[in-house]
């Protein structure tokens, strides 16, 4: 295979994995936004905590990698339950400014707690996979990559199935479409809020735990992650699950190609510029279905 094609393939592979991570994070964010009408500025912190807890459990507690990942997610879920009960419950029907300020405050809080616990150094989650590359027809990848790719893809599919096929998912969608009507037919709104919030946090934490072996986590990364997730949500249409998935993949690929062929310093700006363009020309998002 020609070198150019191989390089392109490399970028695409990276882009797809990062894109899947973005999709997972954005899926939760868009559900929280759609059901609870809260733009959760602390969402990226769930990703960051998923990664750091996985790191902590593997390196410092000595858990098996495959046990540590779900445990990390479970711990974040516990945190999410606590947060929902103490803070987010009070944000129901609150105005935009209130919910934004509270979630910004929470984001700062979580970020600096992580800094306090683990220090500012970026950390990678130690994985049991051999680093030896696998040759896929000229494009090189590693077992870790394949594992990460498989898990994130499976999670995306699982998330989609939960929303589309399960009763809980249907209740969530109903609440999203019409809160009063849902309450009238007996859906317990407070329970749906809790489930949605936890669901979103779990997806983000899972993405963080899985990708933590691949991309180092640092306590201050939550902000940028949140912002990227918002970019995906806006691109895909706020409240659109499908849009979050496709938007996430698109952003991941665009950034990988941009970093590879243009400049890695500016790659973060791709999403930000895209969002401004979308706002100018197609404010409801690239994918109209909500």
């Amino acid at each position: 295979m020609s070198v150019q094609l191989a390089i392109l393939g490399q970028h695409l592979l990276n882009g797809v994995l990062v894109g899947c991570a973005y999709a997972l994070i954005a899926m939760g964010l868009t559900m929280i936004f759609g059901v609870m009408n809260i733009a959760n500025f602390a969402h990226g912190e769930f990703y960051m905590l998923g990664g750091f807890l996985a790191f902590y459990l593997v390196s410092l507690v000595g858990l098996n990698y495959f046990v540590a990942l779900p445990t990390a997610v479970a711990l974040v879920v516990l945190l999410a339950v606590l947060l929902q009960h103490s803070i987010f419950r009070r944000l129901r029907d609150a105005p935009t400014m209130t919910t934004t300020l509270v979630t910004i405050g929470l984001s700062i809080l979580l970020e600096h707690v992580a800094l306090l616990l683990w220090g500012p150094q970026p950390q990678s989650v130690p994985t049991p996979f051999p680093p030896s590359p696998i040759n896929l027809g000229g494009i090189y990848t590693t077992p870790l990559y394949l594992f990460s790719m498989a898990v994130t893809a499976a999670l995306i599919v699982a998330g989609h199935l939960v929303i589309r096929r399960t009763r809980m998912g249907k209740a969530m969608r109903a609440t999203f479409q019409n809160k009063e009507a849902s309450a009238l037919v007996g859906i317990r709104i407070d329970r749906i809020y809790m489930l949605t919030f936890v669901f979103g946090a779990a997806l983000a934490a899972a993405a963080g735990a899985v990708l933590g072996g691949f991309i180092p986590v640092e306590p201050t990364m939550g902000g940028v992650v949140t912002l990227k997730a918002f970019v995906v949500v806006i691109l895909g249409g706020m409240g659109s699950f499908f849009g979050a998935i496709v938007g996430g993949l698109l952003l991941g690929l665009a950034e990988a190609l941009g970093a590879g062929y243009l400049s890695s310093g500016w790659k973060d700006a791709i999403g930000f510029f895209a969002v401004i363009l979308v706002l100018l020309f197609r404010p409801e998002g690239l994918f109209r279905r909500a």
Binding site: F33, L101, I104, G105, V224, F273, V275
Partner: protein, 328 residues
């Protein structure tokens, strides 16, 4: 519209007299430094209040405007040797222009989208400061900024670089900003701000263009923040991409929210308190931000009018309150 005892002209005048006396009483350089920085942040907080408190839109781009002003002034000084006296108005104009252009794009959106776009803008600015190394020198920043002398015809050049002297420069700037913004919010424009905030759809249906008034608050707020950034840059002596960190936004928000949004005086007091307080809690930077985050959550949920005014009303005897407070 509603005035509390803290905004009574006598209270303000008394405060001014006290402030004028500060360098005479306070000899410690460190405390003077804090006063100077608070003064600069008074300008920032008041200008942010126009958008957050009066028009009711949460702009998270304010710190980026502050930093943009700082960089503009720094670049003018480093490249063209233009002094701070030119730098301040230039910074103000450049940021106002940037806000105007950004506003054309984003001021028709509301709610979450608007907020997120302001963050995206801030991040783009940060990336520019970090990566456009030819112009901004990236992480190395632009050092070597100076406070110029003040040349008054007939008197000559006065050195204002000392903390005692520069304090008065900042004090004058802060007082002027306060008076100008107060005149603005009491004017017809200010009344329109509040109407847009209270019910935008209704205001539009009665003939008030929300876009226009949001733009006015946005541009003026940004320009003032940019000018403050210029003051800060020359005082501190250098600029770096750290000025674009999101933590600055958090601090500014706390000043406005805890001070009491929509009052001007509240955020001004908030600026002073939240410049002094963190310095007194010098312990660990981490704990400081953890406390800030918690304060922001608690204040937003439980103290919609901020801390300062409810506290003052508690302390001021009720006889005073009914005599001086006008009807709500």
């Amino acid at each position: 519209m509603r005035e509390t005892p803290a905004q009574h002209p006598i209270a303000l005048l008394a405060t001014l007299v006290v402030l004028l006396a500060v360098p005479l009483v306070v000899r410690d350089e460190y405390f003077l430094h804090l006063f100077i920085v608070s003064g600069i942040f008074v300008i920032v907080a008041i200008s942010l209040d126009l958008m957050v408190g009066y028009v009711g839109q949460l702009s998270l781009a304010h710190a980026a405007f502050f930093a943009l002003g700082a960089y503009t002034s720094a670049l003018l000084f480093v490249r063209f040797k233009w002094s701070m006296w030119v730098g301040i108005p230039a910074a103000g104009l450049v940021t106002a222009l940037a806000a105007f252009l950004l506003g054309l794009v984003i001021l028709r959106t509301r709610g979450h989208r608007f907020i997120i776009i302001t963050v995206a803008f801030s991040e783009i600015m940060k990336l520019a400061a970090t990566n456009w190394v030819d112009v901004t020198r990236g992480f190395m920043g632009l050092p070597g900024l100076q406070i110029p002398t003040l040349t008054i015809p007939g008197i000559g050049a006065i050195d204002i670089a000392s903390k005692e002297r520069f304090y008065y420069v900042v004090l004058i700037a802060a007082v002027l900003t306060f008076l100008a913004c107060r005149a603005l919010v009491r004017s017809r424009i200010g009344r329109a701000f509040v109407l847009v905030r209270e019910n935008e759809v209704l205001a539009e249906s009665l003939g008030i263009s929300a876009f226009r008034y949001c733009m006015i608050a946005f541009v003026i707020g940004a320009g003032l923040a940019g000018a403050a950034g210029s003051l800060y840059a020359h005082y501190v002596g250098f600029v770096s991409p750290d000025l674009f960190n999101f933590s600055w936004v958090t601090v500014m928000l706390i000043m406005v929210i805890l001070g009491g949004k929509g009052t001007l005086v509240g955020p001004a007091l908030g600026a002073v308190i939240f410049t002094f307080l963190p310095e007194l809690l010098r312990e660990a930077l981490q704990w400081r931000m953890i406390i800030f985050g918690t304060i922001l959550i608690v204040a937003t949920l439980f103290m919609p009018r901020g801390i300062i005014f409810p506290l003052l009303e508690h302390l001021v005897p009720s006889r005073w309150r009914t005599r001086h407070a006008r009807a709500a």
